[in-house]
Symmetry: C2
Amino acid sequence: MIKQKRQSNLRIIPLGGLGEVGRNMMLLDYQGRILIIDVGFRMPEEDMPGVDFIIPNIEYLKGKEKNVLGAVFTHGHYDHIGAVPYLIEKIWHRNLPFFASPLTRGIILKRQDDFPQQPKLNINLVKDGSKIKLGPFFVEFFRQNHNIPDNLGLFIETPIGNILHTSDFKFDQNPVNDLPTNFQKLNEIGKRKILLLLSDSTGAEEEGHSLSEKEISKNLEEIFKYAPGRIIAATFASLINRIQQIITLSEKYGRKVCLEGYSMKTNVGISKTLGYIKAKRDTFIKGKEVNNYPDSKITILGTGAQGEAEAVLMRIATREHPFIKIKKGDTVIFSSSVIPGNERTVQIMKDEILRQGARVFHYKMMDIHAGGHAKKEELKEMIEIMKPKFFLPIHGQYSMLVSHAELAKEMGWPEKNVIVAENGDIINLTQNRIFIEKEKVPSNYVMIDGLGIGDVGEVVLRDRQMLAKDGMFVIVVRKTGKVKGSPDIISRGFVYLRESKELLRDTRKRVIGIIEKATGAGGAVNWSYIKDEIRNKIGQFLFSRTERRPMILPVVIEV
Amino acid sequence: MIKQKRQSNLRIIPLGGLGEVGRNMMLLDYQGRILIIDVGFRMPEEDMPGVDFIIPNIEYLKGKEKNVLGAVFTHGHYDHIGAVPYLIEKIWHRNLPFFASPLTRGIILKRQDDFPQQPKLNINLVKDGSKIKLGPFFVEFFRQNHNIPDNLGLFIETPIGNILHTSDFKFDQNPVNDLPTNFQKLNEIGKRKILLLLSDSTGAEEEGHSLSEKEISKNLEEIFKYAPGRIIAATFASLINRIQQIITLSEKYGRKVCLEGYSMKTNVGISKTLGYIKAKRDTFIKGKEVNNYPDSKITILGTGAQGEAEAVLMRIATREHPFIKIKKGDTVIFSSSVIPGNERTVQIMKDEILRQGARVFHYKMMDIHAGGHAKKEELKEMIEIMKPKFFLPIHGQYSMLVSHAELAKEMGWPEKNVIVAENGDIINLTQNRIFIEKEKVPSNYVMIDGLGIGDVGEVVLRDRQMLAKDGMFVIVVRKTGKVKGSPDIISRGFVYLRESKELLRDTRKRVIGIIEKATGAGGAVNWSYIKDEIRNKIGQFLFSRTERRPMILPVVIEV
């Protein structure tokens, strides 16, 4: 059943990306007709062991599938497109149109190769200046600089007024592999009476202006100029522009480039095919060919600057890479920032590489990485250019949204025109007012793990956390009415059983005691009571002896 | 058996703190007579679930207990004293003398209260200028600035030559609650012909000079001046000088101070008793009294700026604190840096506090925290002052040690006189040479968890990691020779069993198949083979269906 009130307003519904970094997805809903902007995922938190990633909750669209007019994608980073294969079937209807720039489209389609059973996507190409009409929405795409090419901001005419969605962006007058920011165009758009600005907040806590990619190139070149041996450069596979810089510098200094790692090879492949990465025909060599050249003529380009367990750099650092071993004279470049939470792992990896004799350069030592996100000065400029009536910070942790909102207020925007909203909020927009509705839309985490049959639920996750903390302790009891032999105990992650014989013996004695007491009187035996008793009493006993609380699992076996 | 060669050299053996931050412990061994410097612990890594902390491995001292001359402590931080209660019994002998400054001694003794069964420690008081003789070692203590009072560097005369151990330190001309750095004394020591300098490397990757605590005070005062309501300040309980600043500012602005959290109360208690924290008699109020004063007259001072799960600030953020709830008008100050690895948790906590309406100040927004460690400029100055013949960077991750060593080399120290060593290395020092011996001393992690019966070993830890990732799957099989009923399955942290009936049914079928095949032929049944088969085949089957790899535990029950 579709329940829909007539609205004379526009509802903006962020399903992800507001109050977090990643998982960007937003709905514009006008009179029940819905436009989707981005369908991204995010990486799990540390306390979600085994979870692969988190996708938006689209329960709100249930029963409204036919009213989804289409989805527009701003750019090809996974936090903007990554959830497509997990959600597409749920909102699929014949000819549901997608709109994306050529590179974004290429990355989405390449990903779909892993999901052959899914419907074939219908992705229309758009580019700077493209205009499309979807129901009541008229969308004009415009180029925005970021750290991947083909990033598009959205100018959206709606019956309520004009909305400007910046996409992720930074202003860059000297980009690499991209055109400089087109301020003329931005100024022109700014004159169109923007009712609401939705602007990227990822850099809103950082003072100043983001670094130009040109600066990065200059610093990287200093390393290339003096590196005596091989250069091993690690960055994100999605940082297409950085990858281009490293390729260009390698060519300039006569180095062959060996691409390592699946995602690096894939992304460079797509980008080359579509003309977004330019390289000479003989620049790339295969891994096995690395030894055919002098060390000073080799660049190895791979993923893993974040310490990802399976990535190239980690495998090199842990000496597990099949043919790349660090040696004295190597120069290792970490050309990416460190994602919060990964600092320890990156430190450990860096130490390991230093121990093996390489020199290490990372972004804290010199500017060999720039984020893709506008900092305070640029964010102010964007607000200044668009002069929106209302302002809603998007994309970022809550503290970033707050910081971005503060900026607008400091610039003179009235408090009531600046809204800090979060995932699941329904932002109600009219020509004269913006506010958050009382009711919320479901926006909790949907976790994907393995093939995702029945996504990882809260219960499974809580169990994993508990198992991780103090392990588990299974006690198998035979349902014979009387005790026959001693109960079997299986334990993992608790204590090393071979060294804890006494503890086991005492535990067995206690279990037998519990059973004898409960079954001794004769009559019906309440096995569920016995299980509770074992769980509680043995739990207390083990804690008193070890101060650990393993998960206790009593199992009663019919014999 | 004590095996000991005659040496005409000094052996320096770091058991912790070199190649890591924390767990500082070092031995000086001259002809088998051993001096201990510090006995610290460190916090576990993320991939060590359930581990409380990590202590040094002191296997090297086994059998040499009687040759331990004594232990000197540089200062009262847990990474320098924290392992005392876990190791003291292993090296205890009658009258084993400890040497520590009054505050350090107070903190060590207070901690021992939790370990009433242990021998009473014999801690001799030392202070700036104290001189002691321990066998062949003559130790002179000198004041060094850090972020806890009563920090002492060590000038050690040995038969081989003079050694200078800086302790953790920074140079501060305008400290709070402490005297400024005594450069005159340092210069005087520098003239004594230092053979070897052991210097703190924690800040060796940071450019410039550390901030003076005076600067921090100035910035904190800006917050105090304008805060409209309560101030909730969080810092480390061990940052005694910062705690003093917040108390002093509270008094200046007419605020009462409510201390929250066990370690904060304890540390302030010790420090006040010993005269290291100064406060007016009526400054402190109890938690329950907070509501007796206007909000603008209240400072709440607690731990938890690192997002520690049990600390005050986290309990406030998660609305679990019994009587402190965040309200609009509150100002929350995070006056500490974020320890690598804690960034995500701190971000989440910060967001939660902002959502509840408080203003938040943290060290990235303004300088309201200074580290306690000298940065590059100060480290160079220390090397310059001491002009050691040999240089060994101590205290820090491997990358910090390398960076510190580079500094000395850039200053002209010859490569062979600068040694980067790690935990477990035996550094052999003579008047003309320093080198690392081939043989190493055990220095692997010793993990403490709960009461620590049989410390957490590698096996237990690996099991926990595996359990955390994909959970576990116990299959109970009856040893009847023939299959009787279906095997019992217990699983946690894998899939939600109630929603996975089909998967369970198929698994049971397969288990029965495996057993029937193995027992069908008659004759002796190889149950250990059946267990292997179940582990492998069911493991593969579950992976093919879920792409998860739970720990499979087949249990064969005698009936």
